[in-house]
Symmetry: C7
Subunit: 101 residues, 7 copies
């Protein structure tokens, strides 16, 4: 998030996500996997909270990290706008999975 | 999931499932048990998350593994599409049972 | 379940049940207790999961075992069909009681 | 329950109850306390499960025992019939109190 | 409860209450505090269960005892009748407070 | 509560509150902060229960004490009347904050 | 909160927030990030409770402190007015994140 004039540090188990922009390459381009994955809801993790808290008050290390490509549920998440961009806040537990090559 | 251009690693206790395609063999073929089981909702586990987390923040080893044939509930699950295929994400606890020979 | 071409291993605290078929003996036969019990919902346990998991991730030994005759609630349970037979999956805790002679 | 051709062993914290039959004595009879109590829902415990299970999987000894006369809530309970009699299954925690002389 | 032909022992954290009868003294009598308190719902504890059970199965000593004058919520409680009297069963936690002189 | 002919001891985590009477000073008087605060719901703690109980049955020391000026939620609380006065019972956790000079 | 004639100390995990006033600079002024952030719901923490309590009665240190700039959810929070100003009380867990430069 170095490119942002201002940074948001999510609290607890919240994760800040920038959704993928659907890429469409028509002329001689190849439909890249990213685009295929774009049909489902995916994005990049831009900031991660310190982790949720157990009933006992202990902080649990988050399961995702900055830069992770993740699969998001169709509904849910908290849309916010700053620095002329749209972001989404999700509870870590709402994130469905991580994409790997 | 080696055949996939991209892999999805489910988070927590989520399990990625590829449903059985109902096989119908009419001409001299034999109706195999797979097909009979196809009437109920079954599929193959293609990827398993690291396991759910207890209230205390500990990870619990999952009860299913890649390759398991499983029985799914009629409703529920999260349908996703990538690599031109349909998959379903279930919480481990929603899976009803495992098929064995 | 040896007579089944395929076996289902229930997950967690699930129990696979085959319901009693109501027996009716008219000609000189005697109305056996089984039939009387058949008015309530009863069945035979055909397979038992390894046991439910506590909040802490430990597995709890199930309270019923294969072969037990059990009393079922009027509603609930998950009907499935395979090997040309109907079965029901119940959470162990939904089973009301065990029949003994 | 020795008089039953078949016995039901309730599971967990369930309790099998036989409700009091309202006794009415008109001719020179005295309205006994039992009958007065009959206006509220009361019954006799005929079988008790091994006890409920804590979140941790431990079994908790039940608070009622066979033969106890108990006060039942107006609603709830699971009516079952066998051996030509009506019984009710209650969760131990639903039972309001025990009658003593 | 010695005056009762039959006694009720509440189970768990239940408390048996006899509500105050509103006293009205018009002729030279003084409106006693009891009567003032009678406008709110108050009563006398006639029997107390052994105490509620924690998630862990331990019994917790009750916070009220026989003879306590208590303030009750406007709604809730379980009305029962026996020995020609009306009583109310409340969960200990529903009782709002104790009256002291 | 020494001025009361009768005292109420709240049970568990309940707190007895006497709401502020809105003071209005028009003639040369000064609108005191109390009055400003009166627009929100505030009051004085007149009695505090021994404290709530944890799942484990332990009592937790209350966070407010007799004499505290507190901010109350707009809704909720249990209105009671005795000694010709109106009081409110709140669960400690419903109280929003304490006023200090 | 030194400028306040009266201070509010939130209880438990509650946090007192003063929302940002949207700044608009039209004539040769620059639209500062604060204003951009103002489109989402943000504010300054003016007072923090001692922290929430675990099931076990222990107090958990809060994750925000006086002076923090925070991102708030669109809905929720408890609006209160005193010292001629509007404030909002949020449960710590409702606060979405902290802004940093």
């Amino acid at each position: 998030m170095a490119q942002l004039g201002k940074r948001l540090l999510p609290l607890f188990d919240r994760v800040l996500i920038e959704r993928f922009v659907p890429e469409v390459k028509t002329k001689g381009g190849i439909m890249i996997p990213e685009a295929a994955a774009g049909k489902v809801n995916s994005g990049t993790v831009v900031a991660v909270g310190p982790g949720g808290r157990t009933d006992d008050g202990k902080t649990v290390a988050p399961a995702v990290k900055e830069g992770d490509k993740v699969l998001l549920p169709e509904y849910g998440g908290h849309k916010i706008e700053f620095n002329s961009k749209e972001y989404y806040l999700f509870r870590e537990n709402e994130i469905l999975g991580k994409w790997s090559e």
